[in-house]
Symmetry: C2
Subunit: 539 residues, 2 copies
């Protein structure tokens, strides 16, 4: 060694028998850990070191949880990695602990943000024109129209933050009457009413698709603004629009649905004109809106992780968990998700459930997902990636324990199924796949107006529909991706900040971004497509 190295490690819980190496570049063989063993081999950053001799078959504990049994004898100071660890079986759903929820956290007052109030009571953090699509066929035409709206119309509506085509690969060529089709259908429906779209619902339909507009939006399901209805135009705020009366659909005369196959469309540009004309009506109302002071309780925050490493569970995710608690204390809604990353902590979840009904709903969702994976001959262990393992996460149990800390320490107040809208305040388990864009899409459908995304390996994740605050788990990533990562939680590992300090920093940043401050993804215009969760067959 050329320079003297100060070895740094993290032990999560006093009863853990492994620690994680913090130093950039890892630690070489022969390094004496402070108050611990000397490394018998080099151990990479983020990876685990045995604190005592662990003969084959020994329980390996991290987060005070058994993350596996040693497959071979590992001496004190030895490297504990995925090849030397046998993963435990999935926790049975039988005999789960009954709810013993922690007390509700003390209220947190005095924080506000500047948001766009909607007629339905929700609040947007952005003021976007969204165009819902019933079917993938219209996506090319919509892309053309969105480009025109962006160039020709938006400059005249300076209070509007942007235009978003809600394109997806659903709507036709799918088994729309299969039982699981309810998931993609309600996802598309609920996406349309995300708070960041100001209550304006504009729909683009082909005409012959399976997912007809009246099936997507049954009467009374969602208010659709009739284009002939000019209430709200030029006024200071959006207007409440009553649901359509029974039987009527928004594709009728005056509805805000553009149908490409309608007789009146002669020539491609007539389709574009129809879309632009309709867009103007919505843009006028959106443009009349202003940000107003709103309590933190109007935030609906989705937390997620992706490209995780062993630091995720000790830096970024605990800081997010601290911010989750702050948000919940301030009355906000916070959703945590990612079924396969909470599956192995199901006993922690049922214990934290606010009521027996919540505990039952948690088990219902995770059992459904187990069955869904089994149908495709997979299980929860399909979650981990090469990057996770390279980053020190040996298996899904270890990954799950590091993932679930994003949910903080409070009771779990509610559960929603994939694609459902959240209607409660507090901490919510929004059951979704862990897949980054599927999870993000489902959280958007649930009503998310602010997104927190932690990453250890690094991903340029972004969504056009909602600001995404990206949190790096490591200094090295934050340094290299300085103009992609919004917050650096690596400072926790290097001792420059505590979890509490970072949690508060994230909380303040969330309020600033909710009030209009741009994230890095927004500054670069980086975003990924929506991805629907469709467990039903295509045809």
């Amino acid at each position: 060694m050329n320079a003297p190295l100060t070895p740094r490690t993290i032990r999560i819980h006093p009863s853990d028998n492994v620690v994680v190496v913090v130093n950039d570049g890892g630690l070489p063989a022969g390094t004496a850990l402070p108050g611990g063993p000397t490394l018998v081999q080099a151990v990479p950053q983020g990876h685990k070191v045995a604190l005592t001799d662990l003969p084959a078959g020994t329980e390996v504990r991290r987060y005070d949880v058994v993350i596996g049994h040693t497959a071979v004898d590992i001496p004190a100071g030895g490297w504990v990695n995925e090849q030397r660890l046998v993963m435990p079986g999935a926790r049975s759903f039988d005999n789960l602990p009954a709810p013993q929820p922690p007390a509700d956290l003390p209220p947190l007052d005095g924080f506000t943000f500047l948001g766009f109030r909607n007629a339905d009571g929700s609040v947007g953090t952005r003021n976007l024109l969204a165009v819902t699509t019933t079917v993938q066929c219209v996506a090319g035409v919509l892309e053309f129209a969105v480009e025109r709206i962006r160039k020709d119309l938006l400059p005249h509506y300076p209070n509007v933050d942007g235009v978003v085509g809600l394109t997806h690969s659903y709507g036709c060529g799918v088994a729309i009457d299969a039982p699981d089709a309810i998931i993609p259908i309600r996802t598309v429906r609920n996406l349309a009413s995300n708070p960041n779209f100001g209550g304006e619902v504009m729909v683009l339909s082909l005409g012959c698709e399976k997912l007809q507009p009246e099936r997507l939006f049954p009467a009374n399901a969602i208010p659709i603004q009739a284009s002939s209805d000019t209430r709200g135009t030029g006024s200071a705020g959006p207007q409440g629009v009553p649901p359509l009366s029974g039987g009527e659909t928004q594709s009728g005369a005056g509805g805000s649905t553009v149908v490409l196959q309608e007789e009146k469309h002669v020539g491609f540009m007539s389709m574009i004109d129809s879309i632009l004309t309709q867009a103007k009506t919505h843009l006028e109302r959106l443009n009349a809106r202003q940000r107003t002071t709103c309590p933190v309780s109007e935030l609906v925050v989705g937390v997620q992780c992706g490209g995780s490493d062993a630091f995720s569970g000790v830096t970024a995710n605990p800081a997010v968990g601290f911010a989750t608690d702050l948000l919940v204390r301030a009355g906000a809604t916070v959703m945590f998700s990612e079924n396969t990353e909470v599956r192995d902590a199901v006993d922690q979840l049922t214990r934290r459930a606010a009521t027996p009904e919540v505990a039952d709903a948690i088990v219902r969702e995770l059992a459904w997902y187990d069955a869904y994976l089994a149908r495709g001959q997979a299980d929860r262990s399909a979650n981990t990636t090469p990057g996770n393992k390279k980053g020190g996460l040996s298996n899904i149990v270890e990954k799950a324990m590091g993932s679930i800390v994003k949910s903080g320490n409070g009771p779990i107040h509610g559960v929603i199924a994939p694609g459902e809208k959240v209607t409660q305040k507090g901490l919510i388990f929004a059951a979704t796949p862990a897949s980054d864009f599927i999870c993000g899409t489902l959280q958007l459908a649930a009503g998310m107006n602010l997104h927190v995304f932690t990453t250890g390996r690094g991903t340029p994740y972004g969504l056009a529909e909602c600001p995404v605050i990206k949190v790096a788990t490591r200094n090295d990533l934050a340094r290299r991706w300085h103009d992609l990562m919004d917050i650096n939680a690596g400072r926790i590992a290097s001792g420059e900040a505590t979890i509490e300090e970072l949690g508060w920093e994230l909380f303040h940043r969330l309020l600033a971004v909710a009030s209009g401050e741009k994230t890095w993804a927004e500054r670069w215009g980086l975003h990924n497509d929506l991805v629907l969760f469709n467990p039903a067959p295509v045809t």
Copy 2:
């Protein structure tokens, strides 16, 4: 009636007991059909009329096939629609006819087109730079880079037709070891070597994804051009590039893979610079290429229909079938697909199979698809859409008979499974879902360099990777969508052209488009995203 109406109907086969109304707007009650009954009620365009009394339980024949049994008594001149027809069960796979293939059609000589010859022997109809992605996470960054390439680089490479990001929603957050994962993986792999990309394979990877570049492209699976290898730069044509040797992957030094998480990337623009630098290497080689005269046998044509109506099976699809026969006679490869639309004609297919192996492969693919649908509690009848029914197609059996005529009259020479590459000439059953963009994506992966798409209701379908010739089934659609539809097969119904004439017209248009003539979708820049077929779970 104000104007005298000349009733027009179409009877497909002499033994059919229904005819289809051709007139725009349908025919009113009291209309006397020439040589047939008088309508007892109004019948819409594209819908069926009973030629004789059909008491409840009578077989209804169209295409000389039983498309159902009458559910009620239908008098001669009555409307036969989906509510009055009971669909037959799916044909069992037992006791299917053994192959009795028609003789190979006589060769057709003397036709050529101007294409781009590739080192592997394939021929492109376009000269595109394609960027393959291993994972959805990189899509936002790629979109940013593609925009730069389009604006800043392409003007310097006038022989290059465009740049295409092969983005998709696969690569991570998926059960990549599930048995069915082979389908999306080989699809992404084979897409990269579509003939329209000139043999240049450029890959964008995140770094930590499940679908690692070396898993996507195992050594020896596909030649990857090393960026340090400048053979071919400035020369008149592309150079053959040997496969990587065993164990080596293209993500190593000098490979044509850009990995966003690599240490060298500091700041977002360094990622964009890496992509643009790599792109230039490929663009230089692509730009050196010229179109040369190629035999028709180098065409790999995918035929498909979408937004079908009752005319699809009597105008556009038979014309396509005629062109299919011409192409096969000239030595080309023609793929027909859409499992649920051939399922009810499985006995016709096994009879047409060139060999028993081909017949077995047809049954293997359709049986696998039956099981796939059943797993999601669906069956082939999930295929039909509201638009199909409105357009006169009562059920999937009737739709299938009209769909399968796109395959012409020759023997079936081969079968490929979803995502596989076609390696044979002749008529190929490429087993795919009927879902428009999934079918198109799989045909692209199979090596399609020209696409024919027929539509009755109308869809603005387009692909960025390959020209799509759209054929309208009806005059009315062709009139209204005059700048979206490339060919009007409605003239067959109105008696202005025969199936043969239209088939030849389509054949000539195919050669012109293959040689560089732009389709309407290309002129407007309309295209839809790729959609992968992933029957395995997400995680």
